[in-house]
């Protein structure tokens, strides 16, 4: 019975995510007016900002899950960290691709060593390393502790990386005038803000839908492992 209820709740979450995403798409592609400076290209922002924020949320969850696992040693915390890391890597990679596509028309190049872009790329490297570390350790419990340590260190390192990369860019060259994520907020159209808000809600719902599914997948794998062990014993 409980399982049916969980399934139902997940179905509702998925449906809500779908609806929010569709409305968000409509709002950001049709209703929101083109940007005064950048024109229609600026619509990429409605993807870019929600996806990077979701990625950060993901890494925060990795941090929480890792800390809880090291403290309480409960498998579910490790599962949370692992699931969040996987989806976080997906959203970070997508953010970099969006940024690159946005950069071409606004900066004239696919890639520039802008502070934020660089930081995002480093985040991707750290958490890809996290996933590789997990996959390369055979023993489940050891993999979980090792990954938890990396999940904590990686998250604590983010502010330091942010500072260093930011100083590096600002000390060496003036910050670029057209920052994709620094729109001129003072004269922003209300429809733009609404589009951004709806897209963000859509991303969040979708994120939690994916996360719950990935988490349940891990739980089932864990149960299969336990049952096989039981039978072997």
């Amino acid at each position: 019975m409980a399982q049916v209820a969980i399934k139902k709740r997940k179905g509702i979450l998925g449906a809500l995510a779908f609806v929010a995403v569709v409305i968000g798409l409509f709002w950001s592609l049709v209703i929101a007016p083109p940007d005064a400076y950048q024109g229609d290209v600026q619509r990429i922002m409605y993807l870019h900002l929600p996806s990077i924020l979701t990625a950060y949320l993901s890494y925060f969850l990795v941090f929480i899950g890792s800390g809880m696992y090291l403290w309480k040693r409960e498998k579910r915390d490790d599962l949370l960290a692992h699931s969040a890391a996987e989806i976080g890597v997906l959203f970070t990679a997508l953010t970099i691709i969006e940024g690159s596509i946005w950069g071409r028309p606004t900066w004239g190049v696919w890639w520039t060593w802008d502070a934020r872009l660089t930081l995002t790329a480093i985040l991707l490297l750290i958490y890809v390393g996290y996933l590789m570390l997990r996959s390369l350790i055979e023993d489940e419990n050891r993999a979980a502790s090792a990954a938890a340590v990396l999940g904590i260190i990686g998250f604590l390192d983010i502010p330091l990386i942010h500072m260093s990369v930011y100083w590096w860019r600002t000390l060496h060259q003036p910050p670029s005038i057209l920052r994709p994520d620094k729109a001129p907020w003072e004269n922003v159209h209300p429809a733009m803000l609404t589009a951004l808000a709806i897209s963000f809600v859509g991303f969040l719902l979708l994120y939690f839908y994916l996360l719950s599914m990935r988490y349940r997948l891990g739980e089932m794998r864990e149960e299969i492992r336990a049952r096989r062990l039981d039978r072997g014993a």
Binding site: L25, L29, P34, G39, D40, V41, R43, I44, L47, S51, L90, A93, L94, I97, E98, I101, W102, R104, P105, L206, L210, M213, R214, R216, L217, M220, R221, E223, I224, R227, R228, R231
Partner: protein
């Protein structure tokens, strides 16, 4: 490429990849659930046999 070209490229790649991830995740989910069910049912029958 026009402005809309870049926009559709970005939206296409992002939603395409998320969709691919979702489909892969559903597949993994379905096959694992099937494995688990199979394991549960054989366990039930073997424990019946013991009785």
């Amino acid at each position: 490429m026009s402005a809309w070209g870049f926009v559709s490229l970005a939206y296409g790649i992002v939603w395409g990849s998320i969709l691919v991830y979702l489909i892969l995740l559903k597949r993994r989910y379905a096959s694992t659930a099937a494995d688990l069910d199979a394991l549960r049912s054989t366990e039930a029958t073997s424990s019946d046999a013991k009785k």
